[in-house]
Symmetry: C2
Subunit: 147 residues, 2 copies
DNA sequence: ATAATTAAGGACAAAAATATCCTTTATTTT
DNA sequence: AAAATAAAGGATATTTTTGTCCTTAATTAT
């Protein structure tokens, strides 16, 4: 469905959301290891997500690393796709036709329409935070420690 | 969602289903033009779909070309994906995790699960013929001429 | 100030996907 | 049999994606 770059972007962002805070930032080494992705390639992707006050925040130097602001946590997952320039795939015609629409439907349009809408809804209405919390219910993170 | 190659494969197969028969075969030139795809690249794809009694039938020489047997018409669209080695994307984890399952769910598993099932159902239960007929209801093909 | 740490960024390499061209083979028509 | 037609197949080129490595810049600790 998505490119590797976007998969890494999603995995990394969710991981950072689960394990980091402004007080406890994460290094690229840890992140790449945790989400099982190539380190340098992942670094590039995080750069993209960090650029011009993006989704991820970062600080250089000792004690530095990546974290998600609480504001960023509330952003929809679709924003990650947008930065990765892959939000197009959600609304795209399954057969790849540029001019596929209600007026000019491709042969799969009627059949695929509903699924497409659900996909858009999913990525638009789900926040990064929600996914992080969902994941925590299964395998608790130790972000603020377990009681 | 799918690679260009697979998009062309789907478009070409549906086009052939709509416009061809054993008595009236289609040439690669016409097909590529109709589905708006690069001719030689499409030829390779049709080769793949034709190989060892595959989905598409072909005959060389004058009067030759590509067509779909009535048996092939009844095959599920998923078979096209299978030949293109992309049927994996249907069942794949959205985050690209190899070991994502009900027992080891990724952070999006619960949210995406339903959509994934619908995707599999769609491609498994829809036949090439059904798509061809659907398309014909909108823009009639002149396969056996209009009355 | 200097050294250490960590992300940012540039340059480059490798692999995969997409695309083109040319030759060969099968089939039909003349 | 020869010529014409159309797909099959091989070789190669181009572009995009994925991945690595090294240098630079920012920040902190000594």
């Amino acid at each position: 469905m998505f490119s590797k770059a976007t998969e890494y972007a999603l995995r990394a962002t969710i991981y950072i959301a689960r394990k980091s805070s402004e007080e406890h930032k994460l290094g690229i080494e840890e992140i790449a290891k945790a989400i099982n992705s190539p380190k340098s390639f992942t670094a590039k992707i995080l750069q993209k997500l960090t650029a011009n006050n993006g989704i991820i925040s970062s600080v250089r130097g000792p004690g530095g690393g990546f974290y998600l602001s609480s504001k960023a946590q509330k952003r929809p997952v679709r924003d990650i796709l947008h930065v990765m320039e892959e939000d197009g795939v959600l609304g795209k015609c399954v057969l790849g036709l540029k001019k596929c629409s209600e007026a000019m439907p491709c042969p799969m349009h009627a059949e695929y329409k509903g699924i497409k809408q659900q996909l858009i809804q999913l990525f638009e209405h789900t926040t990064i935070q929600q996914l992080a919390h969902d994941a925590d219910r299964i395998i608790p993170s130790n972000k603020q420690g377990r009681h």
